[in-house]
């Protein structure tokens, strides 16, 4: 790791867009370079991004880190076009600047070599899941990743991650992998082979997985995407009711162990 690593816990800084390209129908991959060193960034952590090119947007928008390269001082985001802000981001030209608050939140508990892991990603939720596999340095025998999408065109390439995990695909229209929701995939028939389950994606998907994990009494972490104003714990807008009371998704999460949630 380079020695010019940033030391403050959290930072606000300008990044330069080094690439911004469509991965498929709805997802863009945006790679951003910092002038200064990067702090440690864990899988599941996120950044709150100022959207510079849209007059109608006032607040920042949170996005998970998809990838981090400490040498090149780059981070990348996987942006799914949902509304105005995400759309505007995908329209930014290479070379333009983006202001980030980073790194935010608490990431996933990194599995160790002995863990047998099932990680499930849906939509843009695949970003932190893939980063988790890479960071854990897991192997296909040890980590299984299930990815669900609407259709084959909504899936992103996972070629770079084949060394870290065994992949399973589902599509709602059956155009790739198993047909149906990701939780319909046969690997869910027997969860007892896993001692850890991770999930990131649409709320109904995460709730379904949490229910299965709870039933099977398996450690399970999910990453929530509550609406945020600040992203660093001062506004109390992003709260999630938990057994410990209302917690902030931006600081106590976004990753939560399902045993703490009131699901």
């Amino acid at each position: 790791m380079p020695s010019n690593r940033i030391r403050m816990k959290k930072n606000v800084g300008e990044f330069t867009i080094v690439s911004n390209s469509a991965l498929n129908n709805t997802n863009y991959h945006i790679c951003l370079q910092s002038d200064i060193g990067l702090p440690d960034i864990a899988p599941g952590q996120f950044t709150n991004v100022d959207i510079p090119n849209n007059k109608d947007i006032f607040l920042r928008r949170p996005f998970s880190f998809f990838d981090v390269d400490y040498e090149k001082k780059t981070v990348s985001l996987l942006v799914k076009i949902l509304g105005r802000g995400s759309k505007s981001l995908t329209e930014l030209k290479v070379g333009s600047k983006l202001n980030l608050v980073y790194p935010l939140g608490r990431g996933f508990t990194i599995p160790d070599k002995n863990d047998k892991v099932l990680a499930v990603g849906g939509g843009s939720g695949v970003a932190p899941i893939l980063q988790l596999a890479k960071t854990a340095g897991s192997s296909p025998g040890q980590m299984h990743i299930a990815i669900g999408a609407r259709s084959a065109e909504d899936h992103i390439s996972i070629a770079d991650y084949l060394q870290f995990a065994q992949f399973y695909f589902t599509t709602e229209d059956g155009s790739l992998g198993e047909k149906g929701f990701v939780t319909d995939h046969p690997i869910f028939h027997d969860l007892t082979q896993y001692n850890r389950i991770y999930a990131c994606g649409p709320l109904p998907m995460m709730k379904a997985i949490a229910a299965r994990a709870k039933e099977a009494e398996i450690f399970c972490e999910v990453s929530l995407e509550n609406l945020m104003a600040c992203g660093f714990g001062v506004c109390l807008c992003c709260i999630e009711p938990t057994v410990k009371g209302n917690l902030c998704v931006c600081t106590d999460g976004p990753v939560f162990n399902i045993k703490d949630l009131k699901w």
Partner: protein
């Protein structure tokens, strides 16, 4: 060298830039980014007698140049604060001000009494203007009679600097300011948020769980500035101005309109460094205009 220090009664600030209550936690969150001792003061998050969960999610909606919130004073109560949080933050080298809330006068008094015991809290901000709670809150701040009563009772219970935070949701804010001044407030701070509403047109539902919430951010700045102007001409006590301040230029406008100090709220969500940038910007402005003391800007609008 220019002087940025100001005094609000006995409260001495090294500079007039504070962070607003409910937008800067307990200072610790900002300390993740920078040395909070540089701030003029930190207004701690709104505190009540007992634990409050606040309102259900969703509590936030973005609006044009602003946002609505419906947090509803989520906090763990004054005792938890005193036992768990105060010890962690009391040694910051910047004044910590507790934002005191209640649903009854008795609650306001009880919270105040406990805060009065805390050595490192030199002032309280009496919040009679929260639009996001069912009882108390804004109701105290929208009539002269109730604003007077709560100020009078809290004044009796508090010996240090008493700031009263006013609601903008009134016909005549100057009248309310005069009322709390007459009951012993050492300062008034304004504005709290404007009662607003946002709707999801496609789903035909309100965007906030509480239907209405408090509007803040640059959208409200022109109204806040007008109110600071009106109030500062109506009372003799110092006025603390806020509402949509995003940068030093905005802050200077509030000083010119009559504020002795300012608070930065929603801007912090966009950029937590805003208060520090404003401090630098004020210094730069004073130097450029060859003014040696920020106090000379206060109410210095030429008209």
């Amino acid at each position: 060298m220019v002087n940025l220090a100001v005094k609000i009664k006995d409260l001495e600030l090294k500079n007039p830039v504070m962070t607003a209550s409910g937008t800067s936690g307990f200072g610790e969150e900002l300390a993740d980014f920078y040395d909070v001792d540089k701030l003029g003061a930190i207004l701690l998050k709104g505190t009540t007698l007992r634990n409050r969960d606040g309102n259900p999610y969703p509590r936030m909606a973005e609006t044009a140049s602003g946002m609505l919130n419906a947090v509803g004073l989520q906090n763990k109560g004054i005792d938890y604060f005193i036992e768990n949080i105060y010890p962690r933050i009391k040694d910051y080298n910047t004044p910590l001000i507790v934002n005191v809330n209640g649903s009854t006068i008795e609650e306001y008094i009880e919270v105040t009494q406990r805060v009065n015991e805390l050595d490192k809290i030199p002032a309280i901000e009496l919040n009679i203007s929260c639009p996001n709670v069912k009882e108390g809150g804004m109701l105290f701040g929208t009539s002269c009679a109730s604003a007077e009563t709560v100020t009078r009772e809290v004044r009796k219970a508090y010996s240090k600097t008493l700031i009263v935070k006013l609601s903008p949701n009134v016909t005549d804010i100057a009248e309310i300011a005069r009322a709390v001044e007459s009951e012993g407030a050492d300062s008034v701070s304004l504005v709290n948020t404007f009662l607003g509403m946002a709707i999801d047109a496609e789903k035909r539902i309100p965007l906030l769980s509480t239907i209405t919430g408090g509007l803040s951010g640059p959208a409200i700045k022109p109204i806040a500035l007008r109110m600071v102007w009106q109030v500062s001409r109506a009372v003799k006590i110092p006025v603390i101005g806020m509402g949509g301040i995003m940068n030093a230029t905005d802050a200077i406008e509030f000083f010119l309109a009559g504020a002795t100090a300012i608070q930065v709220g929603t801007a912090i969500f966009r950029d937590p460094f805003t208060p520090l940038q404003i401090i630098d910007g004020l210094e730069d402005y004073l130097n450029r205009h060859q003014i040696d003391d920020i106090c000379k800007l206060v109410g210095a609008l030429k008209y």
